[in-house]
């Protein structure tokens, strides 16, 4: 009977909590296209933890914490290139699969094995130690001041702050990340919440800067832009990569708005588009307008004034606030194609969504007309997130802007704002390690 039930359970889609490290963002994202896998938002909901790509050492403990947060039966799958052996030291019971082959098959096999009882559920990795004992004033740890009498496990009760309704209520300091599913991998946000309103926030330093990128293969949507820094690259290839990058971002952004099925459709489109397919993106834009997501969820959320974005060269984010700045406009090959930057005026999250859609459409049209034209090598290139140059990526420059953007927003709007910026910590760390003029492998 138990075997029979286990067999039925093993046929269900595998609940996976997936963590994308450096060089594995696309592979993890593509799991959404597989009906046999269900990407979940919390490790409590997952049976399988997937860690893909390269990870800096500072993220080892958060990885182990997430492993321990999964409920039984649980197992871990590591998808990394051979240099990812660190991951096995941190997650000793993990099953290894190859990163550059479809990962989903491995996930299904491991899940089936664990449900049928062929392999045991993995034990906890971190020691069973409370951060501090729960001590009150009494001889048995009871009593004292505060709601619980004492300090529960060394975690003090929340502090007080004046509320805008004239009440004095608790504020909750909250650390979100580095693997919060809605945020880019590695982003650690220290937010202080009063109810669901962000009072103040800070972002911690990019953990991927500790990683040695010489051993990491850059993702297929970033590769052409890195090559364009030091060698001429066909415009058709570059623009197709830009369109794909914007569509992949859109797929994640739609999932963050709860539009999962539409996100999967956009992801399939990102894999399918060819140069000249601008019409497909126009159709998508009409579909999105029909969902009212621009008006109801994103309109007026997280506006950035144009003056805050001057000299940041933040690509679509800056152009959504009306700054017509684009490194492509200075390239003679693009000028031959009649390129002029598209801009929006509102500068809010909805404008950033529209801007990326318009740029994806423009990129596909350019790719269709570019023919054999190639870019000019100038040590800088307009990447999908803004001006990319050796020693600097747009994410690094947008980073400082985030805390002031989030102040006063409700938590849902704060997430929508961060998502609309399309931060990529891996790209920022990678660009910081490039030396100007040295070709990228």
């Amino acid at each position: 009977m138990r075997q029979f039930l286990a067999r039925i359970a093993a046929g269900a889609p595998v609940p996976v909590f997936a963590i994308a490290g450096a060089g594995a963002r696309e592979q993890v994202q593509d799991l959404r296209l597989n009906p046999g896998v269900r990407l979940v938002d919390s490790p409590r909901e997952a049976n399988v933890l997937l860690v893909a790509g390269a990870m800096p050492e500072s993220l080892a403990e958060p990885l182990q914490r997430i492993h321990d947060a999964m409920s039984h039966p649980r197992c871990t799958v590591v998808a990394a290139s051979p240099e990812g052996r660190d991951l096995h030291a941190w997650l000793p019971d993990a099953t290894a699969v190859a990163l550059h082959e479809p990962i989903a098959g491995g996930l299904v096999d491991v899940h089936r094995g664990i449900l049928r009882g062929d392999r045991p559920s993995e034990p906890a990795l971190l020691p069973d130690v409370e951060p501090a004992p729960w001590r009150g004033v009494g001889p048995f740890g009871q009593g004292g001041t505060g709601m619980t009498g004492g300090t529960p496990y060394g975690r003090p009760m929340a502090d007080l702050l004046d509320d805008r309704d004239g009440l004095r209520l608790d504020i909750l300091p909250l650390t979100v990340g580095p693997f919060f599913p809605r945020f880019p991998s590695g982003l650690i946000l220290q937010a202080t919440l009063a109810g669901d309103v962000v009072v103040e926030s800070a972002i911690e330093a990019n953990p991927f800067t500790d990683l040695d990128f010489e051993m990491v293969t850059p993702s297929p949507t970033l590769g052409p832009f890195l090559r364009a820094l030091s060698a001429p690259v066909p415009i058709a290839e570059l623009e197709l990569a830009r369109a794909r990058s914007h569509l992949r971002w859109l797929a994640d952004a739609l999932v963050s708005q709860g539009l999962h099925a539409l996100g999967v459709r956009v992801l399939a489109l990102a894999a399918r588009v060819r140069p000249g397919d601008g019409e497909e993106v126009r159709k998508l834009e009409r579909l999105l307008r029909g969902t009212q997501v621009f008006r109801w969820s994103l309109g007026g959320v997280g506006p950035i004034a144009a003056e805050r974005l001057i000299a940041i060269a933040a690509g679509p984010v800056a152009r959504a606030s009306g700054i017509a700045e684009d490194a492509r406009a200075d390239d003679p090959a693009y000028r031959e194609l009649g390129f002029t930057p598209v801009t929006q005026r509102a500068g809010d999250a909805a404008a950033r969504w529209r801007q990326r859609l318009a740029e994806a459409e423009q990129a596909l049209d350019l790719a269709g007309r570019a023919g054999p034209r190639q870019t000019e090598v100038r040590g800088q290139v307009e990447g999908p997130r803004g001006l990319l140059l050796a020693e600097g990526a747009p994410t690094g420059r947008l980073y400082e802007l985030v805390p002031e953007l989030l102040a006063g927003l409700e938590w849902g709007d704060a997430i929508a704002t961060i998502v609309s910026l399309d931060l990529d910590l891996e790209e920022a760390a990678l660009a910081a390690q490039l030396t100007a003029g040295v070709p990228v492998a």
């Binding site: 914490r65 409370e130 693997f179």
Partner: protein, 119 residues
């Protein structure tokens, strides 16, 4: 079934439910397992929480109360008013206008508090 009477049916349902629960318990994972401290900690992206999650925050229920008063209690008064409206005439009209004006202030306040927005 009719032989057993209403009490008997209840008994059968109770015993049946008990059997199902016992079967599920027998099928389930019965190994004694206590959770470690990191296993019990709430998930917020991989880092341990700094303060206890037991926090009093302002859910702004008064906004919901305002919406309820403005759009539901209004009706409670309007139905009996509609019954006597023709008989009472202008007096009833003026009374209702005063009532609606007061409610309208509540609706405007609710609007300012963003309670009428979709998300």
């Amino acid at each position: 079934m009719s032989l057993l009477g209403p009490l008997g049916v209840t008994l059968v349902v109770f015993v049946g439910a008990l059997v199902v629960v016992l079967i599920l318990w027998w099928l389930g994972d019965r190994s004694p397992r206590t959770l470690t401290a990191p296993e019990r900690a709430p998930f917020a992206g991989g880092l341990p929480p700094a303060v206890h999650a037991w926090s009093r925050y302002h859910a702004r229920y008064y906004v919901m109360a305002l919406v309820f008063l403005a759009f539901d209690m209004e009706m409670v008064y309007m139905y009996p008013w509609a019954v006597v409206f023709v008989r009472e005439g202008v007096v009833a009209m003026v009374e209702m206008a005063m009532f609606i004006t007061i409610l309208l202030i509540g609706v405007l306040y609710t609007w300012r508090e963003r309670a009428l927005e979709w998300a």
